[in-house]
């Protein structure tokens, strides 16, 4: 390929072609040997000592200077023949065939092959090549190959030749010499008038055919050659630096004669073109002085009748000369000649002139467009390469010249640019400042080459030009511009590929005669695909798309070995680059890879783009890329590719959670010590499991403990996966990644709906006891490699780490330390100062979901119950029982079963208790209800065992409690006493629970209210002794009794029998039984023996049934109030203890308790209930001598009037301690009575326990009538006096007599 070297105009192209069956390696070896001769001293060239026209371009003997060779690997296309005269340096002037040979017989073959090759490469009508030769290198032959004389073009190199290189050099010189001779011949043909006419015939003229030449001129007496002094001016020996002024004079001296003479021949056209061709040949021949002279002349001539193309071409040639001279001089042009200007400004001026001329010229015909565009582009590139060479060589110097003269065939990169850091800004700027050429200048120059005219070029030239532009941009560090051009290069190359393939397809169709629909797969060649893909990746990278984001990996790679450096999905990602361009270039990349076709690359690119550009891709594009990738992967698989793509769709797994085991299967760990009987069992129900500590670290641990799972039982994990794309994402397999105990699970394949979160259940079985760690999920896309996504638990550290990362990203957002291409996201990550240490978190610090696998557990189920429909209907206070039958459906026996109960009344009561707002009294009531009256209860039985498959029935007692709406029976069971042969005594055991919820309805049918305690009426018992035997109401000693009464309302629809039993100690049993019809209220009355509680008893505080600590009394009661409260409490308790209230369904079997606990005991009731401390009896006695007692009838006394009688008051101390009593008396009406002594505070004195004393008071009724006498005792103690005990007496004084 053309390398667009600056000095290409001065380089003799020597095409090296392989001949015969030579391996590429061998060819390259010999070719590189030949290529070392890129410059040959003119003095080294053997001059043919002919004096004919062939001598004109031969170097003068002893001349200094060099001729330059370049060795392209390909000939120009045939279509370029039109450039033969305007640009002779474009064509290989010599062809050297390189062949190997082992025996002489093959030589003829080689020569014929060589000739065939040359004939194939160059059209027979063309002028070039001017020389051809075939180098045959002897190989592997013992007997030397005899150089046969019949092939002059053949040169044989014996294998053992020591100075082969030298020989090659000599041969090259000979070839050049031959070329120069041919130059002479050519010029001679052009010099003829006909030749000149041909030369001026068209813009891109061709050489007249030999047959067209006038024979007269051509025969023996040819046109006399140009005087040799014109070709070899004397000034050639003058100093090079002073060439310019001297030359002018000289040329003006020599040339006009030529012109005159030529014009004399009668040529109508100017000789400008002829001179230009001549100058070109001189330039090629290394004779720069001559070339300069002729160029100058040519430019003069070409200007006046404007022939701008040739003019520009001549200018290009002129511009080359100083470089050649400088190079051969070996040092830079001294700037002394032009102080103000750069040394290369002359050259640059000439080239820009040429560029402008090329650009402006109106091309006469369409077919010339191609060449014109090509020459124009070459000129621009020449100009650019001039500046580029100077720039890259840090200024005008030998390095720059070397660069400009580099022969190729590969482009040459000066050492300033070929090291690693060459593209850093600092390096590039350094070059700019040292050379004085800003990069922008080069770039803007180069931009001139780019334009629509590129379309005129043939594909090969177009690629060549674009390549040159791209590589220059690349060296300048203009990577975006490079990417732009590279896209064109790719378009170009692929256009050729696609078109070529279509042509192939057509020809094949024809050749196979295939007219049906049978597809024929040609053997595709994948040569070069690699490079195209490389270009693609480069372009994409510059635009900020990393096509390598998804790697192609081996099929069998271990999913866990991949690095987990993936970003967390929720961490903010800064946008980078130009989304629209990225999308466009990505689409193009996929299309390119498809066109090649490279199916793996298609997959890789499509998926990489999906991953990196997901937020910018339109739905249609996403879908297109996805289907393309899937299709390509399938095709690749079908063709036997053993590679796979990495998993690509970001992070699909959002969360993993262990699906909670069904309650009946959930094992609960208990310490073995729980089996030991505990002292205080009852309190749990009161406290309701509330914890006295606000912060309890132990409980925290318990809550965060590992979930327990059972060996050999199926576990289910709920995995949430996401699909952020607009298409349904297919996952070939999704499985759990676990460590710890072996875990048996199967993978599932699924399709995640577009743009959604999806829930998947993965199940498996643990195969051993111990710890099971769920690291994450292994995900595999169709045709992809499995990949593990680790999901650490959201522990505090993890949360903190993510938060840290997120905030770091947010903090970095909007800060641009590196802008533009320096800020590639994938580079930025490495630049963060502490990212290295942070990201290297090892998996050991991560916490994972962990399960504890416990041994196999038995399983129980409820086979049947006596409850219908799970609903229990009870009357208030009803006692009943239900039976539950459990069945062991596992293969393990159950040797432990416990029942626990819960009902809807417990929680509110516990809450009320926990709040502590209730008074002590209410607290007691609540606690009492919780402990002594549970809805459910059972007789604990430790000896229950259930063998596998057997059943057992348990009885549960129920108690109807108003307000209870539902209840639950929990059964905990376990297999504790396993054969502990394996690892001794376990410290824990596991239970499972089974619950039986019940709907409970409690009907409230009897309402008790209006409890009252009345003093027993002091009516005479002797009134009708008959009734006493019938009724319980009648008791002896009525002073020691009181009456308990209670109203019972039946609010239900059925009659009930209500009974109250008296179960006081030392008192005969009594009962009252009433049938309460529906809707009616009955009062039950039963006498109660009064009682008195000791002071110690009533001074005890109201107990709390729980062991609650720190129960602070909220209500501030005074001491007296508190004493009163306690007294009320204790008496009430005693009252309830002595009564048993029950109801029974009339005519039914249901029975229950009637609770009195809603009833209040008032102070008056208390007074009545409590046995008084003093017992008082009043009797009337006459004076001690009188034996006749006072008439006493029906509880009334009938004392005489106006007669002194005594009232005998008998005071008995009923308490168990000694007390001091006084007496008060009251008589109504008072004014009709006279009495002896005082009626108030009659001292009685100290009475020991149970001691009694009589006090007599003498009174006299003054009139007839009814009198009422009341005596009451008073206890005197330190606090004062309190009334206790009274008696009443009614006296009828002579009312009827």
């Amino acid at each position: 390929m053309d390398t667009h070297v600056f000095a290409s105009l001065a380089q003799i192209r020597v095409l090296l072609v392989p001949v015969g069956s030579i391996s590429q390696q061998t060819f390259e070896k010999y070719a590189s040997e030949i290529r070392t001769f890129d410059a040959i001293r003119l003095g080294d060239i053997a001059v043919e000592s002919t004096k004919d026209e062939r001598a004109r371009f031969q170097p003068k003997p002893l001349s200094t200077g060099y001729l330059h060779l370049s060795f392209p690997s390909h000939p120009p296309p045939h279509s370029h023949q039109a450039l033969a005269l305007i640009r002779p340096s474009h064509f290989p002037l010599a062809v050297i065939g390189v062949a190997t040979c082992s025996h002489s017989e093959a030589l003829s073959d080689i020569i014929s092959q060589f000739n065939g090759t040359v004939l194939d490469m160059f059209p027979p009508s063309g002028m070039y090549p001017l020389a051809r030769n075939c180098f045959v290198f002897e190989e592997g032959s013992s007997s030397g190959i005899s150089p046969s004389g019949q092939h002059p073009e053949l040169t044989i190199f014996p294998e053992m030749m020591g100075n082969r290189k030298l020989h090659i050099g000599t041969l090259l010189g000979e070839i050049c010499s031959k070329i120069f001779g041919e130059f002479g011949v050519l010029i001679q043909r052009l010099e003829s008038p006909l030749g000149n006419e041909y030369l001026n015939a068209s813009l891109f003229p061709s050489l007249p055919l030999l047959t067209d030449m006038p024979p007269s001129l051509d025969s023996k007496d040819a046109l006399p050659p140009l005087p040799s002094h014109n070709s070899q001016p004397e000034i050639s020996k003058s100093a090079l630096s002073k060439v310019a002024p001297a030359m002018k004079r000289n040329s003006s001296l020599g040339v006009p004669t030529v012109r005159k003479r030529l014009s004399a021949i009668g040529a109508a056209s100017s000789h400008g073109r002829l001179f230009k061709v001549m100058a070109d040949f001189f330039l090629l021949a290394g004779r720069t002085e001559d070339a300069l002279i002729w160029y100058t002349e040519a430019v003069q001539l070409l200007k006046s009748p404007s022939d701008s193309i040739w003019n520009a071409s001549a200018l290009e040639g002129m511009a080359t000369i100083p470089i050649l001279d400088s190079w051969s001089a070996g040092y830079g042009l001294q700037t002394s000649t032009s102080t103000g200007r750069e040394p290369w400004s002359d050259i640059a001026d000439k080239l820009s002139q040429a560029t402008a001329l090329y650009f402006k010229v109106p091309p006469p015909s369409i077919e010339n467009h191609q060449f014109l565009s090509y020459i124009y582009c070459c000129c621009v590139l020449r100009h650019t390469s001039l500046l580029f060479a100077i720039w890259s060589a840090k200024g005008w110097g030998p390095l720059a010249f070397t660069t400009m003269l580099q022969p190729g065939p590969t482009p040459y990169l000066p050492p300033t640019l070929s090291h690693n850091e060459s593209t850093t800004w600092a390096n590039l700027e350094r070059l700019s400042s040292m050379s004085g050429i800003p990069r922008a200048t080069i770039s803007s120059l180069l931009a001139q080459a780019h334009g629509p005219w590129l379309l005129h070029l043939g594909p090969r030239e177009r690629i060549g030009v674009l390549e040159a532009i791209a590589s220059t941009y690349s060296c300048l560090g203009y990577r975006r511009k490079e990417a732009y051009i590279l896209r064109e290069v790719l378009g170009c190359v692929l256009d050729l590929i696609v078109c070529g393939r279509e042509e192939d397809a057509h020809t094949n169709m024809r050749s196979f005669g295939n007219n049906g629909n049978v597809g024929i797969r040609l053997n595709e060649s994948s040569d070069g695909n690699e490079s195209i893909l490389k270009l693609l990746k480069h372009v994409c990278k510059v635009l900020g798309v990393n096509l390598d984001a998804i790697q192609i990996v081996d099929d069998s790679s271990d999913p866990k070995s991949q690095s987990h450096t993936d970003d967390d999905p929720d961490v903010y990602r800064e946008p980078f680059g130009w989304p629209e361009l990225q999308v466009g270039v990505v689409r193009e990349s996929v299309a390119v890879a498809e066109a090649l076709p490279d199916f793996l690359a298609v997959t890789q690119y499509a998926l990489s783009s999906l991953k990196t550009l997901q937020e910018f891709l339109e739905p249609g594009d996403q879908y297109h890329l996805y289907t393309t990738a899937a299709r390509a992967m399938q095709t690749a698989r079908r063709r036997g590719v053993m590679k796979a793509v990495e998993y690509w769709s970001g992070r699909p797994v959002v969360s993993i959670a262990l699906a909670p085991l069904p309650f009946v299967r959930l094992p609960i760990e208990k310490p073995m010590s729980a089996l030991q009987p505990r002292s205080s069992d009852s309190n749990a129900i009161l406290t309701g499991g509330t914890d006295p500590f606000l912060y309890n670290p132990r409980r925290m641990n318990a809550m965060q403990g590992k979930p327990l799972v059972v060996l050999n039982e199926t576990l289910e994990f709920v995995v949430i996966i996401q699909n952020p794309y607009v298409f349904d994402l297919e996952l070939q397999s999704l499985s759990l990644s676990t460590s710890g105990v072996p875990f048996e699970s199967s993978s599932t394949s699924l399709i995640i709906p577009a743009r959604s979160y999806h829930r998947v259940i993965l199940s498996g079985k643990a195969l051993a006891t111990g710890s099971l760690i769920i690291r994450g999920c292994i995900v595999q896309a169709p045709g992809g490699a499995p990949r593990e996504f680790v999901l650490p638990l959201a522990t505090e550290e993890e949360e903190e780490r993510i938060a840290h990362k997120r905030s770091a990203a947010l903090c970095e957002a909007g800060r641009f330390k590196y802008s533009g291409l320096d800020g590639f996201p994938w580079e930025r990550k490495n630049r963060l100062p502490n990212s290295g240490s942070k990201s290297s978190r090892s998996s050991s610090t991560m916490m994972f979901l962990e399960c504890k696998v416990v041994p196999e557990q038995p399983l129980l189920r409820i086979r049947r119950t006596t409850v219908t429909h799970g609903a229990l209907m009870l009357y208030d206070g009803e006692m009943s029982s239900i039976r539950i039958t459990f069945e062991n459906i596992s293969a393990l026996p159950i040797d432990f079963i416990r029942l626990a109960f819960d009902d809807s009344t417990i929680t509110p009561a516990q809450q009320a208790l926990a709040e502590g707002e209730m008074s002590v009294f209410e607290t007691y009531e609540t606690e009492y209800a919780l402990i002594h009256r549970p809805v459910f209860s059972w007789a604990k039985n430790d000896s229950v065992t259930i063998a596998p498959g057997r059943k057992v029935t348990l009885t549960i007692n129920c108690f109807g409690k108003v307000g209870c709406t539902e209840g639950t029976i929990h059964a905990s069971y376990s297999y504790i006493h396993r054969d502990s042969s394996n690892n001794g005594e376990a410290s824990v055991f596991h239970t499972r629970q089974i619950s039986y919820p019940l709907m409970v309805t409690v009907y409230r049918m009897l309402e008790s209210h209006g409890m009252d305690i009345l003093p027993y009426p002091s009516y005479p018992m002797s009134l009708d002794n008959v009734s006493q035997s019938h009724s319980n109401l009648f008791v002896d000693d009525n002073g020691a009794w009181c009456l308990f009464s209670l109203d019972i309302t039946n609010t239900y629809g059925a009659p009930f029998e209500v009974s109250i039993e008296r179960v006081q100690e030392d008192v005969p049993w009594g009962e009252i039984l009433v049938n309460v019809p529906p809707g009616s209220t009955s009062r039950l009355v039963i006498p109660l023996k009064k009682f008195l509680l000791s002071d110690e008893h009533i001074s005890k505080p109201i107990p709390t049934l729980s062991d609650r600590q720190f129960v602070v009394d909220k209500t501030k009661l005074s001491d007296a109030e508190q004493r009163m409260q306690r007294e009320l409490f204790w008496y009430r308790e005693e009252l309830f203890n002595s009564l048993r209230c029950q109801w029974r369904e009339a005519g039914g079997t249901r029975y229950g308790n009637l609770s009195l606990r809603q009833q209040r005991l008032t102070l008056t009731m208390l007074e009545t209930l409590r046995t008084e401390r003093a017992g008082i009896q009043l009797t009337f006695v006459r004076s001690e001598d009188s034996s006749q007692p006072i008439e006493h009838r029906a509880g009334k006394y009938f004392p005489p009037c106006s007669e002194l009688v005594y009232i005998r008051i008998k005071v008995t101390n009923l308490t168990k301690s000694a007390l001091v009593f006084t007496l008060d008396m009251d008589i109504e009406p008072r004014e009709h009575v006279i009495h002896d002594g005082i009626l108030c505070d009659i001292p009685v004195g100290r009475l020991e326990a149970k001691e009694n004393r009589e006090v007599d008071v003498a009174i006299c009724f003054l009139c007839h009538g009814r009198f009422e006498l009341v005596a009451s005792a008073r206890v005197l103690d330190s606090t004062g006096s309190s009334r206790t005990g009274s008696a009443r007496l009614i006296a009828m004084v002579n009312t009827d007599s």
Binding site: F359, K360, P362, P363, H369, L372, S373, Y376, W425, R439, A440, S443, S444, A447, H450, G451, P452, W453, L454, L455, H456, G477, Y478, R480, K481, Y484, R487, E488, L490, G491, C492, L494, D495, V498, C499, L543, E574, P575, F576, G577, W578, P579, E580, L581, G584, R587, E588, V590, A591, V592, A595, D621, H624, A813, G814, F816, S819, G820, L821, G823
Partner: protein, 178 residues
Amino acid sequence: MSHHLFILSPSDTPIYNLTYSSTKPTPTTISPLSSNLPTWSTSAFAGTLTALSGASSTTQHTTGGGVRIGGGQDRHVIQMIANASLDAVEDVMRKESTMYLKSVDKFNEWTVSAFITPGNTKFVLLHEAKNDEAIKSFFLEVWELYVKTMLNPFYSNQQMIRSSTFDTRVRTSAKKYL
């Protein structure tokens, strides 16, 4: 004569773009070289090439391959040119402290002028004719509008500017100067 304005964040992401066609005539500096372009439409990639090389005559709307690059003033090509000109802009920007970089780059028929805000946001304008002073005034107005928009705490210099006010005002300003 059309103008293309791009406002680019420091990470080269466009946050605003405007295509404005002024009524002024387009200077015709078409090279004879680019006339009579061959119309070879052979594959999808030829379309890409045609568009990228700046040929305006052909209309290559390809159907297959998903490459949607047409001829003429293709939006994608305009963006490519704007993006490529960032090379030159950055180069100049690092050496000079001026905000307004006039005619900093030329590619195909487009001249690129740029304006760099102190926050390293770049305004890139592709235009066809030389109009330095007016463009400078235009840039200054756009800058002011930009700064006013960025005062809004809900905007960052990496998000698309979606404010319709901004858009209207920029258009007004474009009408005034371009």
